[in-house]
Symmetry: none
Subunit: 201 residues, 2 copies
């Protein structure tokens, strides 16, 4: 694709932003206002150039808001619930456990996620998961030895590495922090596999 100047790039970024945020592209006059142009002709020039360079397409003549950004992945967005405190007895995804929702680009995850969980404690710092991080969890995904999972023991929900002691036929949870001991409780219930982590600074 041909080079764009700074200004040209700013224009196409603006169009892309409006498109994704309000679900419809801007009009030429809206672009004009945004960039402080005093003439609509200026915008016409930019759009013509962007079209010639292959970054834009127009669908039909005289159509309002019919700019198409070439290559704009209208990425499917995943809407996952964020779990708060989990109450005893209640199923993990019960409405009363849900704290809110976040959106995530599907392309960030291979197979989607069923919920998110805010991490408490420092038991997984050795694996790069810190207190306050969001972990994204896929329920009922097949897990391998050593993978990071969300498990439930009674009303406690934790993030740990899972191991299966085939000899004794029970599950073992291990922290990624030497300060914590492995857990081998017969009541361990694997909720799902951690498929992503998000941290905010």
């Amino acid at each position: 694709m041909e080079q764009l100047t700074e200004k040209q790039k700013a224009i196409i970024d603006f169009i892309r932003n409006i498109q994704t945020n309000q679900g419809t592209p801007p009009t030429m006059r809206e672009i004009m206002k945004e960039f402080g142009f005093k003439s609509i002709g200026t915008v016409q020039d930019y759009l013509r150039i962007l079209e010639e360079k292959g970054y834009l397409r127009r669908r039909g003549k005289f159509k309002a808001r019919f700019l198409d950004i070439v290559g704009l992945t209208t990425n499917p967005v995943l809407n996952v619930p964020v779990l708060g405190q989990v109450r005893a007895g209640a199923p993990i995804l019960a409405v009363e456990n849900i704290d809110g929702y976040i959106n995530l680009d599907k392309s960030l995850l291979d197979n989607g996620a069923d919920f998110a969980l805010r991490v408490k404690g420092d038991s997984m710092t050795g694996a790069g998961i810190y207190e306050g991080d969001f972990v994204l969890v896929r329920i009922n995904s097949r897990t391998e030895n050593g993978e990071i999972v969300v498990a439930r023991i009674g009303e406690e929900v934790t993030v740990k590495k899972i191991y299966c002691d085939t000899k004794y036929r029970h599950l073992r949870l291990e922290a990624a922090n030497p300060a914590y001991k492995p857990i081998s409780d017969p009541d361990i219930q694997i909720v799902g596999k951690v498929v992503g982590v998000f941290r905010k600074y």
Copy 2:
């Protein structure tokens, strides 16, 4: 929510369909055509009813293609470019450096992000940032000592902790991995501050 008749439901389904498929809602006359109405007034009636019943909203008067389907409204989404290889000389956000785009829920970040970068190497594992992680970066944000930043030295772009040696009046980059030595290059250029991390398993 109030009940809809068959026809009313068909209308809103059509609007939803057009919105998701072509990225912009239909005009009233397009709706008219689709359903074979002979008068624009018919569509006006339907839209009024759907608005009264709470299934539709209009943004502004006399605006083209500004129907909003209630409930389809996704949270504000940030569309950030993902940087690939950075070429020498080129400004960091030059089009040729951009590998693609990802969408992120705005609520995940306090002040937005300007671009994302795929992490290379293991120099920040001590801070929970691993090879392959995406870091989200805000350009020109004020940085404090010890914060994680993206810096540029020539055509190399790295993620490190930043420190200002006031005594010697120069910047120092430190890895979060004892295997790496601090960098004190006069050409260090701070690109932005790391405001988020995302990792996929």
